[in-house]
Amino acid sequence: MAHEAVIGLEVHAELLTESKIFCACSAKFGAPPNQNTCPVCLGMPGVLPVLNRRVVEFALKAGLAINCRIARYSRWARKNYFYPDLPKGYQISQYELPLCTGGEVEITTADGGTRAVRLTRIHMEEDTGKNIHDAHGDASLVDFNRCGVPLLEIVSEPDMHSPAEAGAYLRKLRSLLRYLEVCDGNMEEGSFRCDANISIRPRGSTVLGTKVEVKNMNSFRAVEKAIEFELRRQAEVLEQGGRLVQETRHWDPDREVTRPSRSKEFAHDYRYFPDPDLLPLLVSEQWIERVRAELPELPEARQARFGRDYGLPVYDAEVLTARKDLADYYEAAVRTHPNAKAISNWVMGDVLRIVRERKLDEVLVIRDWPVVPAQLAALVALIDNGQISGKIAKSVFETMAQTGASPERIVAEQGLTQVSDEAPIIAAIEQVLAANAAKVAEYRGGKDKLFGFFVGQVMKATQGKANPQKVNELLIQRLTGSP
């Protein structure tokens, strides 16, 4: 029997606020264990949470960008359970009245069309700490640095029907959150994590099958692989006449299988109830409108504008607007030197290559990178003015990326200025022709292909600095003219 996959995703996105959600501790990743802690995030006796309003603004940004309904009145709830990384014995979250509901994310399907994945809700909550096992013999240690770091939980409807669609949704969501600069989207560091609810049903049926929740996937590839495995496993169980059980499974990336979670025996009753230490969250219309006004131009709108204003092909516009810092970088360069297509080529090629080599794409740091937009623009201007060749420009760019020096300075210090004066080029041509008399004869005898050879030799003799157009011109003159 043909089956249809039904997939819903729950994404946890850590927010890039300076401080934690209910205390003033730093929310930065990577500090030594337990350095970013205080009595409040450690849940010591008597302490009370105080809401960081920036967290609400970040959540509003995401909600507005996804066209969610924003609740003017929402509430904080306690989710009660025991675990060593949860210092209060409960997690402060939102439950029956979340900040955002509805909204949708548009994805591209396998047939090239688009489809909307609906969102159930987006709510705010605090992250938990981290248990570290077996660090010293049989001891377990707890690092509470992440405790109280703000999270958005973004829950989709079961609107995806293949691993590829799940992947497309996740990428789109991540790129949107990064674009809004509310989350760095780093899956390896856990700041963008995902649980998948997966079930299958006979094609054409509208009834949902028994769902399995899969956790522990820390890359896009893992999500797709895990869903793929789970769909195959569920189909096999059904085909062999078995029954699926509702359960939580973990993805084992080494063996590429999902396995039942060990904590299955603890059927959790989280005993949610409104947190009496926090007042209900009231979001005024003015606050919503202020955040809406501060929203950046969103990727789709910007992509369209790049086509319109800069005459860029769709592909270029899409790549450049995939992240906000990249699009900002591009526009800043074009403002300095308006050769839109040439700058697009540089950004999509060499800039992104270096970004990838240096793993800058995992964090939002293009703006901190040595080659500032004005310098890239200056490099393109040097080519356009005929001061350096495209080839020389490549090596100048490498030096810029290494040292952060301006292209003008590199060209001047290394003497790379393109030679357009005829005299030195003619001298080089004479030298090359004299040294290759036999080939000159062959060329003149009709072997046209040798022209490229002569160009190469002349460029080599001038260390690449000769203006290639001049070289072409003068070579033809010399080869076709009198011997």
């Binding site: 010591m44 009370l48 109830f273 009496p276 230490d277």
Partner: protein, 485 residues
């Protein structure tokens, strides 16, 4: 100066200001009184003699300097659920037996900033759960008026210490009557402020939506001083309200003309000790003779308040007490595996009453029961609050007994928790409604045990309640009686 420990805060401040007595002398007198009476009373979990003398020395320096703050040099006791930086704070529980907090509660900080001297941490029912101070993991506090009786609870140590002269005033906490009920039992004045008037930061939580810190003192004016020192908005407590703090001491005029009081018929029930009813009715007549008008009023949902209170309080407590798991601080039981460690730590660390309430609360919040219990209780709470607000629309304050009986005997009710829960029957509604409530002495029963009168005010109108109490106190002699110990 004979019996300096008996001074009121007003009198002590005046004596300190003119250097009739030094803060160190006053603190020594109080510490000596503690030493003499503590073996019989057990009002304290921790006596902090050295720290108190150091604070008194600092107070003397400030007094000598001329511009001493309000409570400079006044020796006080602080209930052990209120955290004191560097001074062991156990909340009356074994599970926090070794807990020395690295931070102070906001109320502690405010008192110390005002120059007060903290002589020690007062005994209390474990995590403030109880009506007798028999549920402390450390000791049973005795009533200074009769050592075989309880001091009431849960701030029994604070009330007993104030009554016996082991301090000039004290802080307690009140979740369902835990300041007013022991104040009544020990013949002192205690006020639970409006919810949100005083910061809860650094106060070990029992039931967050009901808990409030308040003072106990031998006179109304003493309570007014202390309340003024601890009240006010605290950015660390989101539920504390940002409204100005009146000068409570200065507002004590004793004038009652034009004040209208409500006497709720539901508060005079069968099974009440007759002497309590007689004393309260006499007090009402006294208030009338002082110029207040009294109407009989009705608070129709009173009979549901105790049930609603125990559902909400235990639900919140079950969650608030989850953090005591042996992982990060406090007592930890030995075990091989994590779950076993949790189980043993909590089994050995908590006392029976705390466990009983955690289980009740866990049950009330469980899926499938939430709507029937917790949610329903919240609806009752709204009805109770609306009852009060309707009456307080017409009346400036409500007068009731504080407790249905005078202090009971130690052990008398421990076997029957439901009987014990009824000790707070007249006080819990005030917490559900979030209103200010005060208890002051209004007589004695035939065995010589004090009787308490409760005054309940409009939200954030502690002044009227204090002023009513002050007028009554000025017209009567009850507060001048002292236990013989």
């Amino acid at each position: 100066m004979a019996e300096a420990y008996r001074l009121s805060i007003d009198a002590a401040s005046a004596a300190l200001a003119v250097r009739d007595i030094s803060a160190v002398e006053l603190t020594r007198a109080v510490l000596a009184r503690i030493e003499a009476t503590e073996p019989a009373l057990r009002s304290f979990i921790t006596v902090a003699a050295d720290a108190a003398l150091a604070q008194a020395q600092a107070a003397d320096a400030r007094l000598a300097g001329g511009d001493a703050p309000a409570l400079c040099g006044i020796p006080l006791a602080i209930k052990d659920v209120i955290l004191t930086r560097g001074l062991r704070s156990t909340a009356g529980s074994k599970i926090l037996g070794n807990f020395v907090p690295p931070y102070s509660a906001t109320v502690t900080r405010k008192l110390l900033d005002a120059g007060a001297v903290c002589v020690g941490k007062a005994n209390c029912d474990e995590f403030a759960m109880g009506s007798s101070t028999e549920n402390s993991a450390y000791a049973i506090t005795r009533n200074p008026w009769n050592l075989s009786c309880v001091p009431g609870g849960s701030s029994g140590g604070s009330a007993s210490a104030v009554a016996a002269g082991q301090c000039l005033g004290a802080l307690g906490t009140d979740t369902g009557g835990s300041i007013r009920q022991p104040a009544a039992c020990c013949g002192v004045v205690g006020i639970k402020p409006t919810y949100g008037r005083v910061s809860r930061y650094g106060v070990v939580a029992y039931a967050s939506s009901l808990d409030q810190v308040g003072p106990l003192g031998r006179t109304v004016a003493d309570c007014a001083h202390l309340l003024g020192a601890i009240a006010g908005h605290d950015p660390r407590d989101s539920t504390s309200v940002d409204c100005p703090t009146p000068d409570y001491r200065a507002a004590l005029s004793g004038k009652l003309a034009g004040l209208r009081l409500g006497l709720p018929k539901e508060y005079f029930v069968d099974g009440m000790q007759p002497e309590v009813e007689q004393a309260v009715r006499a007090a009402v007549r006294q208030l009338e003779s002082l110029g207040a008008a009294v109407d009989e009023v009705s608070l129709p949902h009173t009979e549901y308040a105790i049930a609603a209170y125990y559902l909400i309080a235990t639900a919140e407590a079950s969650s608030n007490l989850s953090r005591y798991d042996g992982i990060k601080y406090g007592f930890r039981a030995e075990a091989e595996a994590l779950l076993e460690m949790y189980r043993r730590t909590r089994a050995q660390g908590f006392g029976a009453e705390v466990k009983r309430r955690i289980m009740l609360g866990t049950y009330a919040l469980s899926s499938g029961y939430y709507d029937a219990y917790y949610l329903k209780a919240q609806k009752v709470r709204t009805l109770v609050r609306n009852d009060f607000l309707a009456v307080l629309d017409r009346c400036h304050a409500i007068v009731t007994p504080t407790a249905p009986t005078t202090a009971f005997r130690i052990g008398e009710k421990t076997a029957d928790p439901l009987q014990m829960y009824l000790a707070d029957i007249f006080t819990v509604s005030v917490n559900l409604a979030g209103l200010p409530g005060l208890s002051l002495p209004c007589g004695f029963d035939r065995t010589g045990l004090p009787i308490g009168l409760q005054l309940i005010g409009r939200p954030f109108d502690e002044q009227t309640v204090l002023n009513l109490a002050y007028a009554y106190e000025q017209a009567t002699q009850w507060h001048l009686q002292q236990p013989e110990i």
